[in-house]
Symmetry: C2
Subunit: 120 residues, 2 copies
Amino acid sequence: MTDQLDTVFAALADPTRRTILSMLLEDDMAVTDVAEPFEMSLAGISKHLAILAGAGLITQEKRGRVKWCKLEPDAMRAASIWMQGFGQFEPVNLDAFERFLEAELRGAPTAPSETARQGD
Amino acid sequence: MTDQLDTVFAALADPTRRTILSMLLEDDMAVTDVAEPFEMSLAGISKHLAILAGAGLITQEKRGRVKWCKLEPDAMRAASIWMQGFGQFEPVNLDAFERFLEAELRGAPTAPSETARQGD
DNA sequence: AGTATATTCAACCATCCGGTTGACGATTGA
DNA sequence: TCAATCGTCAACCGGATGGTTGAATATACT
């Protein structure tokens, strides 16, 4: 019964999952490769991917023993239209978007780049 | 530490809260009036409003003993831009938005219209 | 003053969520 | 065949979430 908007927004509410989505913007990735930059167990990432898949934001195709993850941006369409209806924000400001991505990928606590590698 | 995107998306993930936001599109409302159509305790609605306020999606101003809730659509801007970056969805399709709103307000399980419909 | 209205607080409950570890099935390859 | 790799499953944990009820606070009305 949970609306599509429910699952999409809920999936996007987690910074790890948003980071994964932005990683997948560049290319399809195997689960292990998605997990590699994170300081989290593979099973944890696997769960996040399942949530993203459940929301339709990615699809996963198994070839051999490797499961490939592919971004499905169309799943955001409904949610995006819903939001735009409120603010009528300027359409598709790619500059702003890239700034966001950079900030998330670099500075975010879940970001894969230069986190304090504690307990490793 | 939780990102603004975290709180905004999390706030939007709940259908009751989305319905409240669309109600506030038409006008500012008192807490009691917001709660009236819902099959939920006033305290429950009050909590939802607090979450919306925490995400910046609404502001609440107390005049007398009435607390007025006002939509703050700008709080969606960052999240909206983030999403648009993925799909580059057609800009501001108001028709689609109104269809969404109608569907949510009428058919959704949390929709305020037909209060008797609960025990399915 | 006394009562009604508007809203929140506090405690409580069940469930979900994000994460872990360890075992497991499946596939690859030496 | 045996071992390594890929990924999920199951059980568990602590903390957040969504909801309730009942008391408390603040304002308004008569």
